[in-house]
């Protein structure tokens, strides 16, 4: 009848002793609280891992906890592994190109996924065509898996549109910037899938920071109550802009699901195989009518929050360096090399291929036209609106007044 988390049992201010009295010691109390908080940060978390940072396969014999998930990648061939590797490499290349294009002034902003390739490719490759994806603004790797032309992602960052692809073509929704909103859209969509009697599944991406938004909790409640076929896929990249996860949660996020009545799993977000396995497992639950699942992919935002951000203001280089050792791409490469799954020729070929992608991205972006001015008035309504019509006409007349005039 009582549920207590370990963290909660630990007194967070000095137990027994009264709190320091008076406002003068507030700063001190603040420091104490901060210290206590830091303790909860799980440095070496327990999670589903199938490939170590060194590139070694973890077997069920090594860790019985993975028994439930490992079968979900039993079918993965060396070819498949190379495919996953290629996806990650191409995604990183695209991402790096976009970052460079931003520096050159071709994009107004870029939100890099650097470091999160395994979480995105692993989960993205778990999906079926008829599944539906609700991304945040950082799911470039998932978009890649869905077959969205990467250059289409750049329009909104260049400022020529707010979303440059047809979400229904690849079942990949538009990027959502208002944090957490899309988890409810995913839940509603999944409610519709169930109503249709389809066995498709829906996946909603969100961040560690987003987990604090009320909308995400409401999505948990709705999906639990309606038993909707949705997977909540959190990329816990340790940071929400400048705020570490301690500012968002006190215990690991995956545990939150249980209190809403569905399972939560933490997976090594830098292990593409584990992400694939766990997402497949969760999607299968959804298809079988077992309802929602929360997957917490424990990963790291290697770069800045966006190109506007300066992480040196708030995080230490050592932290970033420590995570570099867990790089998702290097780990799969090590595995492929060690197992003879790929040779130098393969890697060189891939390098050349990614070079071509980079070139195409640059070219497409640079030649991306500005939208027509009158586009301001387009698509405000599907069925039209008298005021928009009036304003459009006025604006056109205004523009015309300059032509040939003066």
């Amino acid at each position: 009848m009582t549920v207590e988390s370990t963290a909660a049992r630990k007194p967070r201010r000095s137990s027994g002793a009264k709190r320091p009295a008076g406002a003068a010691s507030a700063a001190k109390a603040g420091k104490a609280a901060a210290a206590a908080t830091a303790q909860t940060h799980v440095a070496e978390p327990q999670f589903v891992q199938l490939l170590t940072p060194e590139g070694d396969r973890v077997e069920v014999a090594d860790n019985p906890d993975i028994a439930e998930f490992a079968p979900f990648v039993a079918d993965i061939t060396t070819d498949d592994l190379r495919g996953l590797y290629r996806d990650m490499v191409m995604t990183r290349r695209f991402d790096g190109e976009a970052t460079a294009l931003q520096r050159q002034g071709e994009l107004g902003l870029w939100a890099s996924l650097l470091g999160q390739e395994a979480a995105q490719i692993g989960s993205g490759r778990a999906l079926r065509d008829d599944d539906y994806v609700f991304p945040t603004y950082r799911e470039h790797g998932v978009a890649w898996c869905r077959g969205v032309d990467p250059t289409n992602l750049l329009g909104m960052f260049r400022g020529v549109n707010h979303g440059g692809w047809d979400p229904t073509t690849n079942n990949f929704h538009l990027y959502t910037i208002v944090i957490g909103s899309q988890t409810l859209h995913a839940t509603g969509y999944a409610m519709g899938v169930a109503k249709d009697g389809a066995d498709s599944a829906v996946i909603a991406y969100f961040g560690d920071g987003a987990s604090s938004q009320g909308d995400v909790a409401e999505a948990f409640t709705f999906s639990a109550v309606y038993n909707s076929p949705v997977v909540f896929f959190c990329q816990n990249n340790q940071w929400a802009i400048s705020e570490p996860t301690e500012r968002q949660m006190r215990v690991p996020l995956y545990q939150r699901a249980q209190g809403f009545g569905f399972p939560g799993v933490r997976v090594d977000g830098n292990d593409v195989l584990a992400c694939l396995a766990v997402t497949r497992w969760a999607l299968e639950r959804a298809r079988r009518g077992e309802g929602p699942t929360l997957v917490e992919a424990f990963t790291y935002r290697m770069g800045a929050h966006t190109t506007s951000d300066d992480p040196t203001k708030y995080r230490r280089d050592e932290e970033t360096a420590a995570w570099e050792a867990k790089d998702p791409i290097l780990r799969l490469k090590a595995h492929l090399v060690a197992t003879g799954g790929a040779d130098e020729a393969y890697f060189q070929e891939l390098e050349a291929e990614s070079e071509i992608l980079g070139k195409r991205v640059r070219e497409v972006v640079r030649s991306m036209p500005d939208p027509d001015t009158m586009a301001i008035f387009e698509n405000v309504y599907a069925d039209g609106h008298a005021l928009v019509d009036e304003e459009r006409a006025q604006f056109a007349a205004y523009l015309a007044s300059f032509e040939g005039g003066e």
């Binding site: 549109n161 707010h162 979303g163 440059g164 047809d166 979400p167 229904t168 929704h173 538009l174 959502t176 208002v178 909103s181 988890t183 409810l184 859209h185 995913a186 839940t187 509603g188 969509y189 999944a190 409610m191 519709g192 899938v193 109503k195 249709d196 009320g214 909308d215 409401e218 999505a219 409640t221 709705f222 109550v225 387009e378 698509n379 405000v380 309504y381 599907a382 069925d383 609106h385 008298a386 005021l387 928009v388 009036e390």
Partner: protein, 326 residues
Amino acid sequence: MAVQKLTIAKALNDSLRKALETDPKVLIMGEDVGKLGGVFRITDGLQKDFGEERVIDTPLAESGIVGTAIGLALRGYRPVVEIQFDGFVFPAYDQIVTQLAKMHARSLGTIKMPVVIRIPYAGGIGAVEHHSESPETLFAHVPGLKVVSPSNANDAYWMLQQAILSDDPVIFFEPKRRYWDKGEVDVEAIPDALHGSRVARTGTDITLAAYGPMVKVCLEAAAAAAEEGKSVEVVDLRSMSPVDFDGIQASVEKTRRLVVVHEAPVFLGVGSEIAARITERCFYHLEAPVLRVGGYHAPYPPARLEDEYLPGLDRVLDAVDRSLAY
């Protein structure tokens, strides 16, 4: 029988039933809309007849209701959402303003958002706090939303049909204190356009423009004024986004005087936009400034004060007199 005498509540119920019958993609969602039939019984009997999959009791979370309705719309459904009272729409405001209103434009037109949000609104029922508000400005100002409010049973029936058929999100404000007013509904007539105004009474000396619950007050005021020999035209706006400015202009060009009446606070109420725009359109026609009668810049008061707070016959006639005095 094509013409029936119905309350607004029953007309809305019939309209929802019709929509559920006609289109399997139409869903009803909200708090207590199922067995209870909604606190105003607008969805009465619908869950019984169409099942829990189509008439959905939701968790108590307005953002969740609208957010999932958006998702259902993306899947091809046409959700008709009920917000229990005006004052409880705000938890859903973010989903409405940042998602529902913008999705069509964001997607360059590829996504449509046929979602209707029904909100029983405005005062006059002696309720506690948050149950009597008129937040229409907060939706009409937002590009991407359409905002309408019927004043009578026939409009209630038809405007709701049209709102559900619309591929745009429609905020559908229901004048709750008029729910039990009866009127003739012709379920076979060809209805007026959803966003057009309607001359509810013709007159020549001055125009009263109103919508929803205030149309009745204006008609009563016109009748009272008639006894004093003043000929008052009453325009039922029906739509607050878009506003039928052509309709108002036509009336004002004739009467040369305009008073706008609504329950919402006057400051930045829909009347402010009408005053501004009609003044611009009819600058040389107007004999008097456009006057406005509405709520005050104060929270909706306790029920015992609402009669003073709400625009009533006397305050409307006072404005008519002030306008005519110019």
